[in-house]
């Protein structure tokens, strides 16, 4: 019996050790864990070496694209000489740019084509491949504009001449990346703007935005007017303003706390002020008048008068309905 128990224990340890040894072998053979080139992307200075590090590292390009004999991925076109047209991407980009010129009727450079391929990969997909390349600006990859530039320089260097000066990234790329990230929620639930309008102006409803905000001729004037809000603010800002109203308070709508001599606390937005009295609008749109002689202390507050619990009191659908309405206010 003891012999068998020892045998079972020995077999168990031997199997585990054998598998661990196989793991060691795999790591040695595959080269994983070895030194990887650092992504030395200095702001404004893009080099092929930095781009190579991004291609084979942070950018995860190599999980879909091989470069000739390097890498084994087949999901995306090979960027080496064994790729489409039998040319490496640095050369091939010129032919593709000519095709783009013919298709769009405007001049395209090879660099323009590469920029489009990275930032709008679905625009002109290589025949035989699926439109499934993710936007590298978005999570989980999240490349910075300088890293995108470096990756393009690396692609240019594959059979062509690196030319960072020719790369014209769209203006405001960083802001675009942020906006792209903020868009993530939008596809989640499609809001109904008509329902949203009803919720907005229903004074007794859970949203009741119209009690304080005016749209055109309707609504109150305690908070900022929203008639053209979607034309001046992006979606991300609007979402944040609804869910976290204290994060950015519109100028002129700061909250104040007034403590009267009889220990009454009045909080809200100052609507009118004279030598005799100050009128304060509270979170429900009600106006309270405090005589100047009764004020003991007056202090600005970092918290917005607008309720900060819309995340809890609105259902997901209601939130998106209201949002759809507000986003239509241009």
């Amino acid at each position: 019996m003891r012999r068998h128990l020892l045998g079972v224990a020995a077999l168990t340890v031997a199997v585990v050790l054998a598998i661990a040894a196989l793991g060691e072998l795999i790591t040695r053979v595959s080269g994983e864990g070895g030194e990887r080139p650092a992504a030395a992307v200095v702001a404004g200075v893009a080099t092929p070496e930095a781009g190579e590090a991004i291609f084979w590292g942070k950018g995860k390009c190599s999980t879909c694209h091989a470069v000739g004999g390097r890498g084994g991925a087949v999901r995306g076109p090979d960027q080496g000489a064994t790729g489409p047209l039998g040319q490496p991407i640095g050369l091939r980009a010129e032919a593709r740019a000519r095709e783009r010129s013919r298709a769009t009727g405007r001049p395209w450079t090879a660099a323009d084509y590469l920029v489009e391929s990275l930032l709008d990969p679905g625009a002109y997909v290589v025949a035989g491949y699926k439109n499934e390349m993710p936007n590298p600006l978005r999570p989980p990859i999240r490349l910075a504009p300088d890293e995108v530039r470096a990756a393009i320089v690396y692609l240019q260097s594959l059979g062509g001449t690196p030319d960072p000066a020719a790369i014209a990234l769209p203006p405001g790329l960083a802001a675009q990346a942020q906006a792209a990230a903020a868009e993530e929620w939008r596809a989640y639930v499609a809001g109904d703007a008509k329902k949203g309008e009803r919720l907005f102006f229903d004074a007794d409803g859970s949203a009741g935005c119209g009690r304080c905000h005016r749209v055109g001729a309707r609504g109150g004037d305690v908070g900022p007017e929203l008639t053209h809000i979607a034309g001046t603010r992006d979606a991300r800002f609007i979402v944040e303003s609804i869910l976290e109203p204290s994060k950015v308070i519109a100028s002129g709508y700061e909250t104040v706390l007034i403590v009267t001599k009889d220990e009454r606390h009045v909080t809200g937005i100052v609507r009118r002020e004279s030598a005799a009295a100050v009128e304060v609008a509270d979170s429900q749109g009600r106006i309270q008048r405090v005589a100047t002689r009764d004020v003991r202390r007056r202090a600005p507050q970092a918290i917005s008068t607008m309720p900060g619990n819309f995340g809890e009191i609105l259902t997901v659908e209601e939130f998106h309905d209201v949002l759809a309405y507000v986003l239509a206010l241009r």
Binding site: V8, V16, L22, I26, R28, S30, C64, G69, P140, Y188
Partner: protein
């Protein structure tokens, strides 16, 4: 006379007490989690100065392995009990009871590790836990209550076994079913957390504010695929662990009856393990597909990036399971009178298995030096490069599954003699055959129609490339056409011929034709490859289901050609069972690493970044060292628990199973 339960009650009280203590730990942990600190202050802490990630990894993995056992065993025990109840054979009931005894002991240990895991996470990853709690706090209470329900149901099920006999047996069976319902619900809740971490829904990414409901977070795209994969894996895990328990019991048994008992138990364990292992690749493929759909970046990283080598290791481990399981079956034929007729087939099955595994294991790309490349004539070997591609691997896996199934059919037929004419089998058999035929027809017809109606534009393919969809559709139609043919043959008592035809067609179509055609599709219409793989899987699945039914019906009531001599197994068969157990535990650890590691440096993928010093992806070497240590720890713990809990029933009261 009822067997004396002389030691059981004392042990029962002991385990009952431990279980209640463990329940208290879990409830306290749940309360602590619900009261987790806000997302301010420390983001990470060390584990007494050591890596927090390592500490969580070890505790979580052991908890997961114990969880797999306590969720998988009740499924097996419940089925065995129902079989015993309906057939009136007491041996099934005894086995189910013995397994439940192991379960009661393991349950409290699982709970204790669950509590430890929650405490570790709250202590070491407070920011992440606060975030997770903000999303899932409503599910925590349900989890704790379900745990309580499962604990009480388990103890009622285990300790009520003797009281609920005779007319109360149905109630006891219902308790077993209820136990599985609680267990599955528990697993679904825990799965929701981890699958949401991989595919988060309903989060405003910049503010980390959850704009979705709890239910929407729970019902994320990976929730169900992961649950299906886990249920099957848990059953396979439980089967092989029980097999090893039986093997040790066999090796240590002093009496023939005990050896026979443990031999039979080992056979059942191996059968359960293999039966659950066969559909696992289908579930894995479904899960992988959904991971890819949820995030192409994660999907590519899994199969073509940092984790592709871990899948080579996975192939080795699955290879050991299939070859080992088959080897055990083949040795087992030695104890079946009449099985020697089928022995010559084994070498061919073995050859198919080994060749298929060689293909499955071939990596696509190996880093080579300039010299090596020059001698090879390029980066890839001129022939072997094809084996590294998905098309070859899909064909190889299909062949492995078909071969193992064939091997099992040979085992089943071992002692079967002359068959009973189908006409004598009664109406129930006819109805079962008809219903099975409808299912076997529906599967290929449904997918053939889907392929023929598939819009090439949906795959970013040109209209002319729709031509590539036709061949797999026609092959599916061919398989559908074989169903009525095999049905008629079976009715005319030519069942084995019908089975052979279905087997031959499936192997030819799914393995060879579609295997080669896969390369054409990769070259000409790459995006269609995933649909081609589904066609292969469905053909194999259809073959398995239809052939199983045919086998059961064709050999129902057949004459017995020889007796099964339980207990007549060599020691090497028992060591094989131990090997299978160690391998599946290691595989479970590896898959846990892959699932968790796919998130890379994200706690919640794309939403909450892991900024701790441990947010790096380990190498395969590091992973196997850690997982290896966990496996040894887990097996040592389980060995101890089983030793404490084992009633030594087979030695004391055991009897031969048949």
């Amino acid at each position: 006379m009822r067997p004396p339960a002389r030691r059981q009650p004392r042990r029962g009280r002991c385990w009952g007490g431990a279980g209640l203590l463990a329940l208290a730990v879990v409830l306290a942990a749940g309360a602590a989690a619900a009261d987790a600190p806000p997302a301010t202050g420390a983001e990470y802490r060390t584990f007494y100065g050591a890596s927090a990630r390592l500490a969580v990894w070890v505790v979580a993995e052991i908890h997961l392995m114990l969880g797999a056992f306590v969720l998988g065993v009740p499924i097996v025990a419940s089925i065995l009990e129902i079989v015993g109840w309906r057939t009136g054979e007491a041996r099934w009931d005894r086995l189910a009871r013995e397994l439940t005894g192991l379960l009661a002991a393991a349950f409290s240990t699982t709970a204790a590790f669950g509590g430890l895991l929650v405490f570790t996470l709250i202590g070491l990853y407070p920011r992440f836990m606060a975030f997770l709690t903000s999303v899932f706090h409503e599910t925590y209470y349900a989890y704790a209550l379900l745990f309580l329900a499962e604990g009480f149901t388990l103890y009622l099920y285990h300790y009520g076994w003797d009281r609920m006999r005779g007319r109360w047996k149905g109630l006891h069976v219902a308790l077993g079913v209820l136990l599985n319902l609680w267990g599955t619900a528990l697993m679904l809740i825990a799965n929701a957390w981890v699958s949401w971490m991989m595919a988060p829904t309903g989060v405003e990414r910049d503010t980390l504010r959850v704009v979705g409901t709890t239910w929407q977070a729970v019902a994320n795209p990976l929730w169900i695929p992961l649950a299906i994969h886990r249920v099957l894996a848990n059953v396979a895990f439980a089967g092989f662990v029980v097999g090893a328990y039986a093997a040790v019991g066999f090796l240590c048994a002093r009496r023939e009856a005990a050896r026979a008992h443990y031999d039979w138990m080992g056979y059942v364990g191996n059968f359960v393990g293999l039966a659950a292992l066969i559909p696992l690749p289908f579930a894995g493929y479904y899960l992988g597909r959904e991971i890819y759909s949820a995030s192409a970046v994660m999907g590519n990283n899994m199969m073509g990036g940092a984790f592709s080598w871990a899948f080579i290791l996975q192939a080795v481990l699955i290879g050991i399971l299939f070859v080992g399981g088959n080897y055990y079956l083949w040795i087992g034929m030695g104890r079946i009178g009449g099985a020697e007729r089928y022995q010559p087939w084994i070498k061919y099955v073995n050859l198919v298995l080994l060749v298929s595994f060689a293909v499955w294991l071939t990596p696509r790309n190996i880093p080579l030096t300039g010299e090596e490349q020059a001698s090879l004539g390029g980066q890839f070997h001129p022939l072997l490069k094809y084996f590294g591609l998905m098309a070859a691997k899909n064909a190889a896996v299909s062949f492995i599954i078909l071969s193992t199934f064939f091997s099992f059919l040979l085992y089943r037929r071992g002692n079967k003699g002359r068959r009973r004419p189908f006409a004598e089998q009664g109406r129930a058999s006819g109805l079962a055959l008809g219903a099975g035929a409808l299912v076997a027809l529906a599967i290929p017809l449904w997918y053939a129609r889907a392929l023929l109606m598939l819009d090439p534009a949906s795959l970013d393919l040109a209209a002319a490339q729709a031509g590539y969809f036709r061949l797999p559709a026609y092959l599916l139609l061919g398989q559908a056409a074989l169903v009525p043919v095999s049905l008629v043959l079976t009715l005319r008592d030519r069942g084995p011929l019908a089975q052979g035809l279905v087997f031959a067609w499936t192997t030819l179509a799914a393995v060879f034709v579609l295997g080669v055609y896969g390369f054409v599709v990769m070259e000409k219409a790459n995006p269609f490859l995933r649909h081609l793989a589904v066609a292969q899987w469905l053909m194999v699945l259809g073959c398995l289901l239809w052939n199983t039914l045919l086998d059961v019906l064709v050999f129902r009531g057949a004459a017995v050609a020889g007796a099964i001599r339980w207990g007549r197994m060599p020691a090497r068969a028992q060591y094989t069972l131990v090997l299978l157990c160690v391998t599946i535990v290691m595989l479970m650890g590896l898959m846990g690493f892959i699932r968790s590691g796919l998130r890379e440096d994200w706690h919640v993928y794309g939403v909450l970044q892991d900024t701790s010093p441990w947010a790096w992806t380990p190498t395969t070497a590091y992973m196997t060292r850690v997982v290896g240590a966990i496996v040894l720890g887990f097996l040592g713990l389980v060995g101890l628990v089983f030793w404490l809990a084992a009633p030594r029933a087979a030695d004391d009261d055991g009897e031969a199973p048949a």
